[in-house]
Amino acid sequence: MAIAVEPSATRSGGRTPRPLATHELPPFAEIARAHLDRLYGFCVRLTSDPSDAEDLVQETLLRAMRAYGGLREPSRAKGWLFTIATNAWRDLARARGREVVTIPLNALDPDGDEFSLFQTIAIEDPFPYSDELHLDFLRLFRDDDIRAVFGSITPVFRMPLILTVVHGFSCKEAAAILEVPLGTLLSRLHRGRKQLERGLWDYAVSNGLVTTTDEERP
């Protein structure tokens, strides 16, 4: 099975840095410990299952350990580990007879792409006496609420959001980690954001965080 190597180093189109000799790299354990909590957080979000996430972290580290000599830039170890984790998750899912979900574009909710949370809040006016309508809406959400909404986003659209917004990768880096063209990544990012917006609104309504114009106000 091919092990992915640091995406930015191989796909940027620029001069490819030579691999460091193994003796120039810090010990693998040092790299692993430095990124462990972030890797675990990524795997939890990737798998949406703590038990699967634990398996995936171990598998990722096993693969990374074997491929460590191919790491070109230790400063980019996080992206390298995330790429390995993404590939390992695909392989684990396949081995269990589950394909990682991909959604054909024509199967998407055609209205989902047009939903605007900004506009919906303005129209529904859930806080009629507020001067900060939109900010008041965002203030309703606790960490658990955001996590629940995030979990409801289709994985293939959730991952670009997590990589770029939560983990701070550039779109180009996220595209390399997920092994998709940049245009695909940008399209998925947009759709993920739209699902996030709709998810926040639906969650607020279904959990009684807001009162809409369809409901009676006291």
Binding site: Q58, H134, F141, S170, L186, H190, L196
Partner: protein
């Protein structure tokens, strides 16, 4: 001149500094004439912060950490992988 729909599509990329020079100038030209998109940009900025504020890192459960430490201490004997 881009329309509101295109401006909204570019909004997060603009916030992420992922747009090229020309798309940025088209986007900013649109903002100069569109109060609604200015408001949505501000909202998107806050929404993005709400999401970005969630920690990417999660504490590794102690039992998993123990298994990993064993793995790291015995790099040549990685035996117990996932089922």
């Amino acid at each position: 001149m881009i329309d509101c729909r295109e401006a909204v599509r570019r909004m997060w990329a603009y916030l992420d500094h992922e747009l090229g020079a020309r798309p940025v100038s088209e986007f900013e030209a649109h903002l100069e004439t569109c109060q609604r998109c200015c408001g949505e940009l501000e909202f998107s900025r806050h929404l993005r912060e709400v999401v970005a504020d969630k920690p990417g890192a999660l504490p590794v459960p102690p039992e998993l950490r123990s298994r990993i430490e064993i793995l790291l201490a015995n790099p040549n004997e990685p035996t117990e992988g996932p089922a």
